[in-house]
């Protein structure tokens, strides 16, 4: 049962990280470079999952993407099955819930890059899109790494949204954190201890990866 839950958790975390980064990189770049009221509103919406209980997000996902609403019917048409109690439902919920963990480090990373690099690239004839890929993204590599690891770990450790949207179906929606909850409910403390330890190991490895990263300035020094 545990290996099933581990595999599911890893699959969910990896899918969420990839989808979320693809979405968060342009969004963060826009926030870092934008101005005006639109930016403040978007930033507030992105940060919402930090302060809302996960059950609130889970509840509105269930209702809003259920078969009774237009977006819900569209999703039903695309996926062929309802979002609730399915793996894709978990992915949608995790992407929303982990959004700030990707966007906040990325925005900080983009803002830390001085404008002179993009200006220098434009003076060499590089279009804004070119310089984004050639200059901005490589310079934001440390922020990209922290964002990916944080999203991955946060998804591994999430509980409320997963329970609300996915329920507790072994092999389909039962992640490690929910398996742990089950084991404790059954007073099966030996198994619960093992599950909890697995999650602690995940977290330590991931966080060590975040904090051991070095800006490429130093790695450049080592290369030569």
């Amino acid at each position: 049962m545990e290996s099933q839950a581990i595999w599911l958790t890893l699959r969910l975390a990896a899918t969420t990280t990839i989808l979320l980064l693809a979405f968060a990189v342009p969004l963060s770049w826009w926030i870092a470079n934008g101005r005006g009221p639109a930016r403040a509103v978007v930033q507030a919406c992105v940060a919402l999952p930090l302060v809302l209980p996960p059950t609130v997000i889970g509840f509105y996902l269930l209702v809003g993407l259920g078969p009774l609403t237009a977006p819900g019917r569209l999703l039903l048409h695309i996926l062929g099955h309802p979002l609730a109690f399915s793996f894709s439902g978990l992915v949608v919920g995790s992407v929303l819930y982990s959004l700030p963990f990707a966007v906040l480090p990325l925005v900080a990373g983009f803002q830390a890059i001085g404008p002179e690099y993009v200006e220098a690239a434009s003076m060499l004839g590089a279009s804004p899109i070119r310089s984004f890929f050639d200059v901005t993204l490589p310079l934001a590599r440390p922020a990209l790494l922290s964002a990916s690891v944080l999203v991955f770990l946060h998804t591994v450790g999430e509980f409320g949204v997963v329970l609300m949207v996915g329920g507790n179906i072994p092999g389909t929606t039962q992640t490690l954190s929910i398996a742990l909850f089950d084991q404790v409910q059954d007073a099966n403390y030996a198994d619960a201890n093992r599950t909890a330890l697995i999650m602690i190991v995940f977290a330590i490895i991931g966080l060590a990866l975040v904090y051991s990263r070095r800006p490429w300035r130093d790695s450049g020094r080592q290369l030569a």
Partner: protein
Amino acid sequence: MPNPALEVSLRHQAGPLDLDVQFTLDAPWTCLFAPSGAGKTTILRMIAGLDHPQTGRVVRAPGSVLRVVLLDTDSRIFIPPHLRSVRMVAQRPALFPHLSVVDNVDYRMPPSLPEYENDDLLGPGLRLAEITGLCRVSHLLAKMPSQLSGGERQRVALARALASSFPADPLLLDEPFTGLEASLRDDIIHDLRIWTAERSIPVLLVTHDLGEVFTADAHVLKMESGRIVASGPAAEVLAPERDRLIQRLTQ
């Protein structure tokens, strides 16, 4: 008289800065000479398209068939910086820190070059060797920017701008030689004069260093508090400054 390479007219007021300048680039090398804080850098940035003037007009090659309006606030024309074909070396070198020196210089270098008769195999290498030699950075190619001194960074930034430039595209230099030792600076300016002349690249040099102006043998535009107060050969326009300097040195 040949057509000017660039016709510039800018007016901008913001805080302590009060800018009102009109000039054309006629000579191969033109020098904007002014004390620090006179708005020289702002003028270059506006020509390059990195800053927006309140009112202004910048025209490339006016009076020829190649005429391009780069900026005209009256008719709402603003060509974005990367499409202006204007090369600028900024005061801060801003080398790409994740690329080695050779990759920095090579960045955006055009793949085929008319001057090497479209020798696509050897052309880029020859050009790279020529430019890095000119800027005295050939021995630094394998290093990362973080390993360079301030003066070395400035020379690499110059090399990077030269490598990406096309014939006849204006080159804007914002005090790129400040950190350099005088004899090295004079050698580079001397070689750069030949290099730009061969490609009819007009140069606009911003500086407050008399030695640089006289070495470059540039047409001087002397600025004071945002206005151009004198224009002419260095020996004429900057005679008082030169005499004051000589007097101070011989005392």
